[in-house]
Symmetry: C2
Subunit: 260 residues, 2 copies
């Protein structure tokens, strides 16, 4: 019997073959039992989408019993987490890890991120989770230099598990050498927006189409934000919630006298 | 010159032909200039997805000049809002209205909702917004009985516009007669999850596939929640934010000593 053995659920939004996920598997596979359920194709920008108008298909890719299993799924990152917890596993995982994402999920990107929506979905399901992102969009990003930092954060989180669920948004600056990383900072999400562009093109048949593009626009000078920490080569950790109520606005709204 | 004329941006997630959107157009079309940009097909459950791996296409459906225009878009509700504000309009709309959704977006549904993600996207873009949902999933839902309530909430919001952006999640109970509605309550989002099911089926070729199903599971006994208000036949209004930082967890995380 090995009842103290931890159960890890892994997913991502770049797809089951992404190097970032492969590195995350590398980091945790000797720490306990591992179930990977990840999208069969890239799902960047999927946010908290779930698949309600189409059926879902799953394929078992690797099956080494409870110790190590991999499934690919035709759905979104949030679907993967729902399927893993409700259909594959017979007990809750100890922790859900999502990523390592190719590209930043700091600041407002948390809302568009499939990586973070998978982590948030785990939180909704009552499982503590961490979404990891490396601020490098390249498919060939150098994940090996952040391996030790990722392992350290996972171990710290496991050591602090308690009744209250934590969902952590971890972003790691792009570095050439792990010693460039200055440490870890607990932060708040920076206020920002994406300044959109629409790159207009013409199909061979003469019809207009557009590619969505965008530049990040920081509107926050605070030194307690994820963007600031990353700019100083710190890893940022933002504790993340799924209560979207703007509690500080309730009193103002009560003055709007909707019932007059 | 008519510079006091309000500019309304309308969208939804059920698609440009949905009766809920048609009713919303009916309510506002005499109040000012109206631009509708809505998905060309149903986008329920799309959450805050944006389209980054595919191009977007748009078609002009109606063009009565600035007074009334309709576009359909191949993308998500959030894409529609980005396109409208950044590509179609030459000034910011006074307000963005999303819906009227066929089905509830109360409680945790706010995260999965394309309707509310469109409203939140407007908020990110600096535009006050309201997502309207009628707690009736039927395509033939009776929107006429909620028309006056929707108009009242839009007018109240326009009368209270200020520098600070508001994003409102409005849910309306299903009623037979508008007089059944007891009034409007400002609420917080109820704590809940969806208890998932996966309905397994077999294709004619013998391959397994699944339909995601789910029952709503309320875990919140508070009388200040949207779910409670709706159960008492009140319209619920939850002020909604896009800062996902769990501010109340920052101190706890600082004790985790990540930098030891």
């Amino acid at each position: 019997m090995n009842s103290d053995r931890k159960l890890f659920l892994l997913t991502n939004d770049d797809g089951i073959q992404a190097p970032g996920l492969r590195m995350l598997i590398e980091v945790v596979k000797h720490l306990g039992d591992v179930l990977v359920v990840a999208p069969d194709s890239p799902q960047s920008g999927q946010g908290h989408a779930i698949t309600v108008n189409d059926p879902l298909q799953y394929s078992k890719i690797v099956d080494n019993g409870k110790e190590y299993r991999e499934y690919s799924c035709s759905g979104t990152p949030a679907d993967c987490v729902k399927f893993a917890i409700n259909e594959v596993l017979d007990k809750k995982p100890d922790i859900c890890l999502s990523g390592i994402n190719h590209g930043t999920n700091a600041s407002i990107n948390v809302l568009y991120s499939g990586t973070m929506s998978a982590a948030i979905e785990a939180g909704i399901q009552g499982v503590t989770s961490i979404g990891f992102s490396l601020c490098d969009y390249s498919w060939e990003a150098n994940f090996s230099v952040v391996k030790n930092h990722v392992l350290k954060i996972i171990k710290k989180t496991l050591a602090n598990l308690n009744e209250e669920i934590s969902v952590l948004n971890v972003n790691i600056p792009k570095v050439e050498d792990e010693r460039e990383i200055q440490g870890v900072k607990v932060c708040r999400q920076a206020k920002a927006k994406i300044r959109e562009g629409f790159d207009k093109r013409i199909t061979p048949m003469g019809k207009e189409y557009y590619w969505l593009t965008g530049d990040y626009e920081n509107m926050d000078e605070g030194q307690d934000t994820d963007i600031y920490a990353l700019s100083k080569k710190f890893i940022s950790i933002v504790p993340t919630q799924f209560d979207l109520t703007a509690h500080n606005k309730i009193n103002e709204l009560l003055n709007w006298t909707f019932n007059e």
